[in-house]
Symmetry: C2
Subunit: 396 residues, 2 copies
């Protein structure tokens, strides 16, 4: 039998591979100015501290770290996350309510594996993180889009959607959302925690950008208002330490986490010990807070530069004004399509991501996402100049 | 709504968490002699080389390694695996036909995600690796047991089972199988590759113990006889370098691997770069072959010691005589149950794993698995003395 006759699982039908991953082929070429990815800037990666900590750990407890570890995670890290999560997200957990994941994407994957039957309704911001949409599609969830404005999900619409569609789960990125950069307001956070408890809907609160705030006041997590156990907080060190380490966490009710741990046992057994221990020591040595403080001005200046440039382009109908995170979302008039702009820009060495793949319902070809964390300030200016030239010719 | 009213996904019904993982609670207590796990001995973990390599890597290319990486894997490692796989498994691949996974368990998970619909028939050795059974159950595969003897799967029975049940996949551990230690003969390897092509059955060839051979001649992989693309080789560095690093690989047809990569995108995005680069440099510096050569005598002596002891216990009806790997499988008379022996031994600080959970069809309460890689030679003698005492009282 020829291998081309192999049938894949039904769940693969809706899963064609990320359009965005294709774009990364262009992005990795030397000289390309990338507004496409979600990569931290090179200046924000603390490789010297990681090198030192890694060396110390392998010399002092190498045998333990190279051995198999617990599926739930490296216990010292689960302990040090108690304080980290309380300080950052204003939510209190016991170590037993925290499970270490291989990035926060794995947290969503494990939640879906434990919870989602084919056809189950999952509500999500529209637009939302394309990787999350892929993950939900792989579990054959029916993803329904939620109306959002500049302070996030409309809670009245959310309640209506929960009731109408008997939603199983809400997937939300409440802070500096991907792709919009928008932050859910305090009132709405409280309201969503209440709706979760009232209707019995699991909330996957994905909050990897929380500490990357350049203006305004930090907000408590949705989880901090959850008295019922229906909210699970997904966190990551990819944006504040290093994505290459693949260390994140999920924190929530042990009733849910126990099942996620069973799923993790037969997914990757456990997250690599050395990587967990590096994050643990980074936290315990008090390095994270000063590191974040040191990188915020660089990111903030890049965002301000890009926002200022966007305000000078008359063809742009709307762009978001985030207070932090990595992304700005741009809309042209509804009859426009960014495809020609994308091709022209790529041809000249500037990359961005069209907005359409971020919408659960598709469409919105008049939108695009800009990332400002990866390029230098100079490259942001050069890249925006080039983009603007093509906007003048192709979007007028 | 109270959180206890949460409904989990149907796939969780058959997934109660590994009975074996429960045993590990006892095993981690100080002073316990463990024949229970599959852990490498502490002497076999090259922590000094890993510490040196890790330091060099983070100093010379820290920024790159801490950044996001490709889902397919760190390209230098995919390149160096070409030679490694050819030398070890006698199978040739291009780098594009090799994908790095977070341990070989993830390879099976990705294969299942890409291929298995609920109810699909997967054939497996009986008994087989309990983690693989859990993984297959999570995808609601119907796992059917295959007859095996002391040279592995009976190929006539395999062919009959493929035809009768329209099997989608064969999961096999051909070399020093877990839990039996048995190795599939050369003739049967050829025959299985042929059956895969004839009937269009995917073979997941899981071969993590391949290099741990203490006597006899190395055999080529099933994959080495595959001209059709239906065999996927799953490999791991957990048993020859360090399980804590979580680095494995899958090698096979790009038609299959492309879909697995899509699944990995929304599982853990990519395997941690530092861990991949450590394995890459370990291979490129030629450290693996001498390391394996150095650890084989220690493992071989432990196995020989345990085998000799087993031959002196008259109540044991059968035990396997492996040429390598980590495990020996022991059977008592069919009317016996190892439960009482297990409890008595645990009470005195000796742990093993009952055989029943390894059988897709259950039963076989008269069997148990012994691991000889984790305890020292002295502890093996002490532990076997204790076990023998309880066998004399509880199994006679």
């Amino acid at each position: 039998v020829d291998i081309t006759e192999l049938h894949f699982a039904q769940r693969m039908n809706g899963l064609t591979g990320s359009a965005i991953r294709e774009i990364f082929k262009y992005v990795s070429k030397p000289g390309v100015i990338s507004f496409a990815g979600g990569n931290p800037g090179a200046f924000a990666l603390p490789h010297e501290d990681v090198a030192r900590i890694s060396g110390e750990l392998l010399r002092s407890q190498g045998k333990t770290l190279l051995q198999y570890g617990a599926t739930e995670g490296y216990f010292p890290l689960r302990e040090s996350l108690v304080g980290y999560i309380e300080d950052t997200f204003q939510a209190r957990f016991a170590p037993q309510e925290i499970v270490i994941t291989s990035g926060s994407m794995q947290g969503l994957d494990l939640l879906c594996k434990a919870l989602i039957n084919p056809g189950d309704v999952v509500l999500a911001e529209s637009p939302t993180f394309v990787g999350a949409l892929q993950c939900l599609n792989a579990y054959q969830a029916q993803v329904l889009p939620l109306k959002c404005d500049d302070t996030g999900i409309d809670p009245d619409h959310l309640e209506e959607m929960i009731k109408t569609h008997h939603a199983k789960m809400l997937y939300t990125i409440p802070t500096f959302q991907n792709p919009t950069g928008i932050t859910l307001s305090l009132e709405r956070r409280k309201r969503i925690a209440g709706l979760a408890a009232k209707y019995g809907v699991v909330v996957a609160e994905d909050d990897p950008y929380h500490s990357l705030r350049y203006t305004g006041e930090a907000l408590p997590s949705i989880k901090s208002f959850d008295t019922s156990g229906w909210v699970v907080l997904l966190g990551s060190f990819s944006k504040v330490i290093a994505p290459g380490l693949r260390v994140g966490f999920m924190a929530g009710s042990e009733i849910i986490l126990r099942r996620c741990v069973t799923c993790k046992q037969c997914a990757d057994v456990h997250t690599a010990n050395l990587n967990q221990a590096i994050v643990d020591v980074y936290l315990r040595q008090g390095l994270l807070t000063p590191h974040i403080r040191a990188i915020l001005p660089g990111y903030g200046a890049r965002m301000a530069c890009m926002l200022e440039y966007l305000s000078t382009i008359p063809q742009i109908r709307h762009f978001t004004k985030p207070e932090g995170g990595l992304f700005i979302f741009v809309s042209f008039d509804e009859d426009k399509d960014v495809a020609a702009l994308f091709n022209a820009a790529i041809g000249k060495g500037v990359a961005f991501v069209p907005g359409s793949p971020f919408y659960p319902e598709g469409g919105h070809k008049n939108t695009l996402r800009l990332n400002f964390s990866s390029a230098s300030l100079e490259d942001i200016k050069r890249g925006m100049d080039l983009l603007n030239q093509y906007i003048q010719t192709s979007m007028s």
